[in-house]
Symmetry: C2
Subunit: 494 residues, 2 copies
């Protein structure tokens, strides 16, 4: 999931995305998803086995004029599902190829045997192979009209009902929704909106409150900043100083040339690229905050363990250094992210990871329902100040997609902060994860609970067990499984 | 709310409705709503005072391409709402003009003072004045596409949020949804889907289970039959025998002429009208079952107290009578319904009450989401046998509206019989009401409860207090208010 950029950079970003290649040079935004190509090529990936299946879904669940269907892809593993009425763990796919989520949700694979669970990974419409209008799905506003979270939830509900009817012995199987990030929001919402199909949900790092008037718009970038501040002396301070240093150095042709060489960029830096260059740096820091895992991993990029510590080891200067000395450090730091494997020939400021269709879809969602205000002030965070301006954002969405975001709709449809009447949802949050800013971090009741993982980044709990896992994530996973068992036990009594 | 007719008569019914005048001659169906013209002219109506207001609603809450709005009408009375944070009772309008529901929901007016409550009556889109595309709203399938219960619920949710923001002192007012029949279903669903906007719901005579595979399709007509069987010796038996008598007598021209005169019909009966004539009789019996109230009332028609008893007083013959003797009794019985006031010049088999736009809208809803299977066997009920045939029904819907019903969608989206995780919903049911067949008649938990009113017809509890009210409805209303107070008390604590 990407945070929304400020309006100034949004237009450029989206327009770029919509052109061939979907470069995202100007995006001052974190991004999370749609990185499956890299992820799959990285050495630490474990092999998982599943059947790939398809289910005919209504294109429009909420209207009857459009009566067409499309093939929704889902992945199924029943290796440990031996007994009638054993549980089903159902991953509510988010904005990307479902195989990538399948490979990056090791927790489900790790607990399947203990729970005797079937695993299902359901792809979100408009991503991966689940395209309602095939290759044309993104070609116009009319085809894009069915890309909403409500339609996706209805897909999941219909699919679950169908699976329970069609799989012998599954008719009374309790189903638990699991998801991370936007997928975690969907898990929580699936339980809220369709409690008849899932007995509970694990919503990992799910910022269901990252909407207008629910949380301060600056919290996200504050957490990013804290991660750097806590990972090395002067680290966040030097990043905060770096923006002005970039401005200074890039004000001359010599300086632009120096930056190009120092950062090992793929193309020479021009004056008009400076904004994009800073946006690319900002997105890099945000991505690092999301994937600051305690072991070598490849989620957005192949990275060392505790990557921000490694990054910060290059940024320990006192205030006395020159702009170029400072930016030399920044360049070294950035290369931790882009060239940990040592195989990068050059750095491309149009990319912070490989692109995918997911980006376009997510921006459409951000331009309609998923309006997540973000802002920076340069004081409580280490970024250049940028206010949140809904009207400007709306205008740019309209220009690009022909639709306008509805600022308050997500709050209405999903209940905003008033969710206390629901049950059986776990909200897990990583203390290092900027998305915790919009997460549910306190218990509402015995069955609507928050689990904190202070030294966890973005949904660390959904990853495979690892020898370097901190105790907090080990405990979180154990607690999650305990809730699952409790839900399952009670579901089979009734 | 109308029960669905069998497929044979549906097509004729719908085609007729869609022609000018919306005659519904061939409908073998109960109908409930859209009778406001008559209702308002009847003497027992009490005067109620309200402001008529309008709120701009999105035409499409679930897609962003159609960004138009329409004016949703709602009625507001705040006579007893004196204190900040006092409660709001919110009527979730069903398929008809909201003023009619406002006038026929005396319960809310009766309890407003005790609760210090504001009263809101919100009109359902596509009915009354709340027409998304004005006079064109019903002109084509594309305009009708936004007539769904989900859109209506979203309207209610948005309206409530807006009212709480815009009315000074209402920001923390607890809101309770109240509705009867389809409006009761909407109340229950509003609490299920938007628990952040309503703290609880009273769903009176709300057949939320009258969908495919949830209840036997014959239960509805069985209850109708029981009402007649219990209201007079031989009453249901003679009605059961009457269909064959109609067939026999109508097989000659003389017999058709006799029926025309005996029933005082407005136009001569032709051979091809006989099916419609029987459908009209059937609908008359069903309507009587719905409005078998213990006092003189005018809901669908002006009627005496316990109207079925009066009807049955004309149908006490033993088995020995001739067809014409039997049908003479039927004619007398029918006139209890159509001519209690003695002012009817003739009986029109195209009408069982005055028509309104509501009928067309309800049939569109029946042809999309609100698929409510109905059947008769002539043994356990007093009607001619008719099976339920979904495919034939679907084909006819397609022919008429260009859309196909989705048989299982209502079950998916509203949870079917698996609603136990919800809270704060009262399902009240009348033991005389055929719609009890699809109602929730058992408690799920302390806060998801059923209230039975054995001698109540269709949502008797929502009507004004009356000196002839049976004890069971007096107790039911008291209990309902007790639940309201309890919900309100707990809502103000949190």
């Amino acid at each position: 999931m990407r945070a929304l950029p400020g309006p100034a950079s949004l237009s450029a970003a989206l327009l770029l995305m919509l052109s061939a290649g979907f470069h995202v040079a100007a995006l001052k935004t974190p991004h999370l998803l749609g990185r499956h190509r890299l992820a799959r090529s990285f050495s630490q990936q474990r092999a998982v086995f599943y059947k790939t299946l398809y289910f005919d879904q209504q294109i429009d669940h909420f209207g009857f004029l459009e009566n067409g269907t499309f093939k929704q892809r889902f992945l199924l593993n029943d290796k440990h599902w031996h007994q009638k009425n054993n549980p089903i763990l159902f991953y509510t796919g988010n904005e990307g190829d479902i195989t990538w989520f399948c490979n990056n949700t090791g927790f489900m694979w790790d607990v399947a045997e203990e729970l005797g669970a079937m695993l299902i990974f359901a792809e979100h419409r408009y991503y991966g192979e689940s395209l309602p209008f095939g290759d044309e799905s993104y070609s116009n506003a009319s085809y894009l009209n069915y890309l909403t979270s409500e339609q996706a939830l209805a897909d999941f509900a219909r699919l679950i009902e169908n699976l329970k009817e069609s799989i012998s012995g599954a008719q009374n199987s309790p189903v638990i929704a699991i998801g991370g990030s936007y997928g975690g929001m969907l898990s929580a919402w699936l339980r809220m909106k369709y409690p008849s199909v899932v007995i509970g949900a694990l919503a990992a790092s799910a910022p269901i409150w990252q909407f207008t008037d629910m949380v301060p718009c600056g919290d996200f970038y504050k957490i990013v900043t804290q991660d750097f501040a806590n990972s090395g002396i002067n680290c966040s301070k030097n990043i905060r100083r770096s923006w002005m240093a970039v401005n200074n150095v890039s004000s001359t042709d010599e300086g632009l040339q120096w930056l190009y060489k120092e950062f090992g960029l793929c193309s020479p830096l021009k004056e008009e690229d400076v904004g994009g260059f800073k946006g690319w740096l900002q997105e890099t820091w945000v991505n690092l905050a999301m994937v600051d895992y305690p072991y070598e991993a490849n989620f957005l990029q192949p990275l060392p363990r505790w990557p921000i510590k490694v990054v910060c080891s290059h940024l320990q200067f006192d205030t006395g250094v020159s702009d170029k000395q400072l930016l030399h450090g920044i360049a070294q730091a950035v290369k931790v992210y882009y060239n940990y494997t040592g195989t990068a020939v050059c750095l491309n400021i149009s990319q912070t990871a490989t692109g995918s269709l997911g980006i376009r879809g997510w921006f459409y969602q951000a331009c309609t329902e998923m309006v997540m205000p973000m802002c920076t002030d340069g004081i409580q965070d280490m970024f250049e100040p940028q206010v949140w301006n809904f009207q400007a954002f709306s205008d740019e969405c309209y220009e690009i997609f022909g639709v306008r975001p509805r600022e308050h709709w997500a709050g209405t449809v999903y209940g905003g902060k008033n969710i206390g009447s629901h049950s059986n949802i776990i909200f897990s949050n990583g203390g290092l994860d900027p998305w915790m800013s919009g997460g549910v971090t306190k218990n509402f009741s015995d069955s609507l609970v928050a689990i904190m993982i202070p030294d966890g980044a973005h949904h660390l709990d959904l990853r495979y067990n690892n020898q370097y896992d901190p105790q907090t994530v080990i405990r979180a996973r154990a607690l999650e499984v305990q809730y699952f068992k409790n839900w399952i036990k009670h579901s089979t009594i009734t």
